[in-house]
Each structure stands twice: as C-alpha cells, then as structure tokens.
C-alpha cells in the first residue's frame, strides 16, 4: 500500500516535470510605443536575483552580451554592453526588449524571452515554454534599471 502510494507520487512528480509548459499560459501585456510600462506579474522584481539570472548560462544573456560582471571570464561580443542599460532605457522599454526584441527589430538576433508563437522546430524540452518566466523577466528588468552610468 505504502509502496503503491510512493509509486503514484513518483509518477505524478515525473509527469509534472515532463508536462509541456504550454500549460503555463503567458500573461497578457500591453505594448505602448516602444515599451511595456506595466509589470508582467503586477509586482516589482528582485534585482539581486535578476543579476544572478543574467550571468546564468541557461538565460544565455552573456553568450552575446558583455556587462559589468568582472567575475565572469567568458562574455560575448555579439551585442551591446549592458553597462548603462538603465540610463539608456526606461523600465518599460527594457521590459519590451526582453519580452520580444523582434517586435522592435524584426532582424534582431536577440531572442524573444517571453513568446511561444511564431517559432519553428522548437526542441521537445523547450516547446510551448517561454525562455524565461514572467517573474524572471521582472527580476532581470529590476536589475537592468540599476545599471546607470
């Protein structure tokens, strides 16, 4: 009996891990001009978590960008240095650049971090999921606005 319960629990956990995140609905947002003024979550992000996310490999930011990350030996030079992002752009402008950079420049190589439509041949483990969650986007936005020079 106990074993059966454990098996069911395990199966449930596995299923949860494999369930397509298409289940996770994207939250609606409104673009005004070249910005998304309102937070995707309705709350303010956490800048410390945001910095950690920017330098994390799975976010891929520093594959292309460099920035004020002296501890990171490997940074890219395909994209502008992130230093001073908060001086160049408002919070809402930064949010749209993360959510869907292609909305502003159809030819950009910057991936749209909060979009699941219009993509081709997405691998099974990533299908139906945005690259980052709404919370993660807000954390990164909260961090980027602090980058002033």
């Amino acid at each position: 009996m106990a074993r059966l319960a454990l098996a069911t629990l395990l199966a449930a956990a596995l299923f949860a891990a494999c369930a397509p995140a298409g289940a996770e609905e994207l939250r609606p947002y409104t673009v005004i001009g070249d910005a998304i003024p309102a937070s995707l979550t309705g709350a303010k992000g956490d800048a410390t978590r945001g910095r950690a996310l920017v330098v994390e490999r799975s976010s891929a930011c520093i594959l292309c960008h460099s920035g004020p990350f002296p501890e990171q030996a490997f940074q890219g030079d395909l994209a502008p240095n992130l230093t001073g992002s908060g001086s160049r752009w408002s919070e809402g402008q930064l949010r749209l650049r993360l959510v869907d950079a292609a909305h502003l420049n159809g030819a950009t190589i910057m991936p749209s971090y909060y979009r699941v439509d219009g993509l081709t041949r997405v691998g099974a483990s990533w299908r139906g999921k945005p690259i980052l969650s709404a919370e993660q986007i807000e954390d990164i936005v909260a961090y980027l606005v602090t980058l002033r020079n």
């Binding site: 490997f74 395909l78 030819a107 041949r121 691998g123």
Partner: protein, 257 residues
C-alpha cells in the same frame, strides 16, 4: 494601418538583406581561429589524437567482414590511390536512392551491399575510423562537392535550412556563421562553420566526431529539435556547407577546441 504594414515589410526585407554569404576571399577554416597550441596539435601527426582513429581505419580497411567475407581493400585496393580526392566530392548523388549520401552513408552502403554486413552505427568507433582514414587520403586537396547537376535541388534545400531561423532561441546558422563569424559567443570564437576537417578531434568531446555530430550540437544549442543521424536534412546541410567551402583544403583529421 498602411504605415504599419510598410514598416513590417521593411523590417522583413532588412532581415533578408542582413544574411550575406561570405565572399570567397574572406573564407577561413576554423583552424585559423585556434590558439598556437591547438594548431600545433593538428599539424603534428604524432600529437594529433585523430591519427589514432586513422590508424584504426587503416586496419579496418584490410579486415574481411560480412557474408561476402571481403575487405574494403579487396574491391578498392590501395586507399592511397583509390580514395585520393574522394572525400572532397562528398556528399555525392546516389542514383539508386535518388538523393545525396555523405561519406559515412557511402561506407555503410558498401557494408550492406558489397560486404553483406550490418551497417555501422553513427559515431561508432569503426565508422569514425574508416571515414577518417578515407578522408585523410584527400588531405590538402580542394573541396569540390556539389558540382553534379542532380545535386542542385539538395544544395538549395541545405541553403534554406542554413538560412532558416529555428528553435526557442530563434536563430539561423547564418546568424552566427555568415553574419557574426568574427565575433565571440561567451568567449569562444564563432568561426565560419566550415566543414573542412571532419571527422575531427574536438578537445571538448575528447573524441573524434562527425560533421553530423557538430551540426546536431549547434541545432540543440539554439534549442531546436535536432535531426536524426542520417536524416536527409543533415545530409543537405552537409552538402550546402561543402559547396560553401568550395576550393578550401580538406584537413582531416583536424583538431578543434
């Protein structure tokens, strides 16, 4: 409304214009992006770990196999003569299949049709060793694949695949290897993605690997669904890459970081 459509069209057009194929004079092998140490490893046969596979391949070349109990050498003789320049022309059009096959595919066709043996698995030691041995006979010779007119539609498909954005990161091969090959991705050189050295020894893999393995790694890197080994799409990509590298010398077995 009309204005918005115009802008959308303009952006779409600038997107197309951005991807420019590399002018002949500017083509560079991955070799030219490497450190002096790694270059020396490729240049010195005694230091090149790929040569161990070539030696294995040389042994396999004369080993009898399959229901026919024949070795490659029984039909082809001295590889130094019969295989010289062969790899420079692959992938080649295979009439019985009506489509191109790569060197690994050709070796496996010889296994099944002429040796009556089972095909080697992709990335098996045997297949890597034999393809490295055969390709090494073309070392230094200019790549000349894709000139057969029957290949034209397949070259076109390969080019389309190369230019097509895909995966969760929504990138095309061309975004990196045509447009940004002089740049760095998280500290490592992007290079032009030239297929000159395969199969090659990659330090990161600590092994020899085929061109298809490399292509699957780049496809997974952009979080797209990797095509299966031996799939028509991978062969078409290989073919396009070889025509894109027309005239560049074969380096097999190369070394890459």
């Amino acid at each position: 409304m009309k204005f918005a459509v115009c802008i959308a069209l303009l952006t779409a057009m600038s997107g197309a214009a951005l991807a420019t194929e590399i002018p002949l004079a500017e083509r560079r092998s991955g070799y030219s992006f490497m450190s002096a140490d790694t270059k020396a490893m490729q240049d010195e046969d005694t230091a090149n770990p790929g040569m161990l596979f070539v030696l294995d391949g040389e042994a396999l070349w004369t080993r009898k196999a399959g229901g026919a109990d024949k070795a490659c050498a029984d039909c082809h003789g001295d590889a130094g003569v019969s295989m010289k320049g062969v790899a420079a022309h692959y992938p080649a059009f295979e009439k019985t299949l009506g489509k191109p096959i790569d060197l690994e595919g050709r070796i496996n066709l010889c296994r099944t049709n002429h040796q009556q043996a089972s095909p080697f698995a992709y990335e098996s030691r045997e297949l890597l060793a034999l393809s490295a041995y055969v390709a090494q006979q073309s070392r230094g010779m200019p790549i000349a694949a894709g000139t057969d007119p029957e290949l034209a539609p397949f070259v076109d498909k390969g080019r389309e695949l190369f230019m097509q954005r895909q995966g969760q990161l929504n990138l095309a091969c061309a975004n990196c290897h045509d447009d940004n090959w002089d740049k760095k991705l998280a500290g490592s050189a992007i290079t032009q993605g030239q297929p000159t050295g395969y199969p090659l020894y990659r330090l990161e893999w600590q092994s020899l690997g085929s061109l298809q393995r490399r292509l699957r790694a780049c496809i997974t890197g952009i979080r797209a669904q990797a095509y299966d080994y031996g799939s028509p799409e991978l062969v078409e990509l290989e073919l396009y890459l070889m025509t894109r590298a027309h005239g560049m010398p074969i380096e097999t077995p190369a070394v890459r970081p």
